[in-house]
């Protein structure tokens, strides 16, 4: 994609040309340019820089040390290896987001192994690897552990494919490790024995997060590890660690800035209670607190001493928390900017948020019991309203609720016009405004009309094409849109494809959008990262047509058992310079 009208031989993909020290039109020598560029970190800036002219492209590629690949299939290891020669940090993202919700078959792909093979050859000084929604096997972790003597940071978010053995290899071989950060990873039971594999003289760890792995740990080994890693600032343990064990860890690491506790359910003696209370009081630098499994009113006060500097509180797995004790707790957290809770705190709890957290910028309310449709508890429009009244700086919300009204949303965005991320999930599909019984079109219309900075939107409830007319017309900065059980006809999706100039990611499920809608975006998809459409009215014919017209797009259909041959029930479209996937499993058809 070359927006600059340049001579053909200046095309950026032509990487074989050599360059002299100074170009006739360039005001400065390459060395100076490279020096300046070495200060540019953002990959978006670097991307823009590389498109200016040929010598800038080359200077940029020699000086880039951090690689960000938002879709691992948009490019190949070979292409990357040819272009960049000095990479120290890699971020790779794989599967489409709906894989988090079990909508992708296992073995769909996004295995990082081929990338690791390439990195081992071309980037021996690799220090960081950050993966999101990728598969990394034990073989991959072993290759990683043995190939990079300078390796420092491993971050796995929503990844799968590994067991304890892979982590053991990392712990045993990576002498300079500063970060092991495993979040939301979907794995089989991963044992905790790997924590015992760090050598006795290993002490460089600064970040340790194993909160999402549910294996039991040898506590003595963990305690020894924590005590000798004097630079540890982030510690997030899993549910198997008890309160009194946590106290012993905190004694060794009072300078923590981020803490994820273990289980909060434990009968404590008065002496233990006092010791734990003291340990938390000594954590004066705590900014982030999470964990608190099974936290109940009895032990929440233990945390009060650590809350003064808290800016991010994650209570999303504390599903036994009730509104009263939650409100009392919040009174001790005046500096909160980011709060994640379970809907067990109910509207009353959210009222307390509105009263106690004037600096709040981000709120996420997760359902404690999402599959119980008879369950009438949780939060409603009232809770959201209360927060919007008390927290004018609110700009990021993820809200799972069982009922909502258009009027409430209109008021909410009037109270908080700075929304950048508005993700509303009314949990019963296609549910109308519960007071007026009308579609929720006006609610989302209000969001896009009142919030000019909206970047991410998730819509729900009963929605007609009108919602998409509004979005297409007003949401000029929108980058990510998630749609489910919404719309009336192809026109809805067409409005999006013809509006929303900055759209990058579109995910749609269970909507009446067919081939005409799919094809209306043919010119847009190359400017986007990806499109996901499942359970819509798209056919194989439509997909083939799109594929034929767009050589730089991969149009993939995921075949499921027992489906109608002509239908395309799961479609994933993404731009790529690497051509069709080489590793596609038999149920993925690239058209």
């Amino acid at each position: 994609m070359d927006p600059e009208p340049k001579k053909p031989e200046d095309s950026p993909s032509n990487s074989g040309n050599s360059h002299g020290p100074v170009h006739p039109q360039s005001p400065f020598p390459d060395e100076a340019l490279e020096k300046v560029l070495s200060f540019v970190d953002s990959h978006k800036d670097r991307s823009s820089i590389s498109l200016v002219r040929k010598d800038w492209y080359n200077a940029e590629r020699w000086t880039r040390s951090k690689l960000f690949i938002g879709n691992c299939y948009a490019v190949s290891p070979e292409i990357v290896a040819k272009r960049f020669r000095r990479i120290k940090s890699v971020t790779l993202k794989g599967k489409p987001r709906f894989s988090d919700f079990n909508m992708l078959p296992l073995d769909w792909g996004a295995d990082v192994y081929p990338w690791l093979v390439m990195f081992a050859k071309v980037y021996p000084f690799l220090e960081e690897l950050r993966l999101k929604r990728m598969t990394i096997t034990d073989e991959g972790l072993e290759l990683l552990a043995k190939s990079f003597p300078c390796f420092k940071a491993l971050s796995l978010s929503s990844c799968d494919g590994f067991t304890e053995n892979g982590l053991k290899a990392i712990a045993s071989h990576c002498r300079n490790l500063t970060e092991v950060n495993i979040q939301d990873s979907i794995t089989e039971d991963v044992g905790g024995g790997w924590l015992s594999c760090f050598p006795e003289n290993f002490s460089s760890l600064e970040i340790l997060n194993f909160s999402s792995l549910n294996g039991d740990v040898n506590f003595d080994d963990l305690e020894r590890l924590v005590s000798r890693c004097k630079l540890l600032r982030v510690l997030k343990v899993n549910e198997s660690i008890t309160l009194d064990e946590l106290q012993r860890l905190l004694v060794h690491a009072p300078r923590l800035t981020e803490l994820g506790t273990g289980s909060f359910l434990q009968e404590l003696t008065p002496r233990q209670y006092e010791e734990i209370e003291t340990a938390f009081c000594n954590c004066r630098n705590l900014q982030v607190l999470s964990g608190l499994w099974e936290a109940t009113s009895v032990y929440l006060p233990l945390l009060y001493g650590a809350c003064a500097s808290l800016t991010f509180l994650n209570l999303s797995v504390a599903t036994t928390l009730q509104s009263g004790e939650f409100a009392k707790f919040l009174a001790h957290c005046p500096n909160l900017r980011c709060l994640w809770v379970s809907d067990t705190v109910e509207d009353k709890g959210l009222e307390a948020v509105g009263l106690s957290c004037p600096l709040l910028e981000e709120l996420r309310v997760y359902p404690a019991d999402p599959y119980d449709r008879d369950h009438l508890d949780g939060v409603t429009e009232l809770g959201f309203l209360a927060v919007s009244r008390g927290c004018p700086k609110l700009h990021y919300v993820l809200y799972f609720c069982r009922r909502m009204t258009n009027a409430a949303v209109v008021t909410i965005v009037q109270n908080c016009p700075n929304f950048t991320h508005f993700r509303l999930c009314i949990m019963t599909p296609s549910q109308p405004d519960y007071l007026t019984n009308e579609p929720m079109d006006e609610a989302f219309g209000a969001v896009v009309k009142t919030c000019p900075k909206i970047k991410r939107l998730s819509v729900s409830g009963l929605l007609t094409d009108r919602t998409f007319e509004y979005i297409g017309k007003y949401a000029k900065d929108l980058e990510t849109l998630s749609v489910a059980f919404a719309g009336s006809s192809d026109w809805g999706m067409q409005c999006i494809m013809e509006g929303c100039p900055k759209l990058r990611k579109l995910e749609i499920r269970d909507c009446p959008f067919g081939d005409a809608a799919l094809l209306s975006g043919r010119e847009k998809y190359e400017m986007m990262r990806s499109l996901w459409m499942s359970a819509c009215s798209v056919t194989m014919k439509g997909c083939r047509l799109l594929a034929r017209e767009s050589p730089r797009l991969n149009v993939e259909v995921i075949r499921e058992e027992g489906g109608n041959e002509a239908q395309a029930l799961k479609v994933y479209v993404y731009r790529s310079v690497a051509g069709p996937r080489q590793d596609a499993p038999p149920f993925v058809l690239t058209l």
Partner: protein, 164 residues
Amino acid sequence: MDCDLNLKATELRLGLPGTTDAISPPKNNKRSSPDSDSAPPPPKAQIVGWPPVRSYRKNNLAEAESGSFVKVSMDGAPYLRKIDLKVYNCYLELLEGLEKMFKLTIGEYSEREGYKGSEYAPAYEDKDGDLMLVGDVPWEMFKSSCKRLRIMKASDARGLGCAV
């Protein structure tokens, strides 16, 4: 009612074998389990991937809902264990299993006095998050409402299972 038949076979009580005293209701103020009140609700079809909650979170919930494998903690022990409640048919079997697993003895249960004559008493956390003494409710009710087991020091367990 079904409950009566089960109670007789599995209830722990002091008394001579063969006596048939009336079974007293659970001694607490909790609302009765929905199971005993009405017919079970019709199963709702679950839509795949909806609501869009991460599998990781779902695992937290699935554990709570499947009900048959529960964690067992013992006060003072560093590790938790896990047992499958489905394997046991009555309280006696469960307690024997716990005694073997943790190498301790649990005293005899009485409605009035809980577990007398031992260092430890078995408690459990139910669906509402309350800490209850094992043995107070009928076995089937216990199995469906038990989320987690905890072997407490008997001294700490005084106060659980007393009439309110």
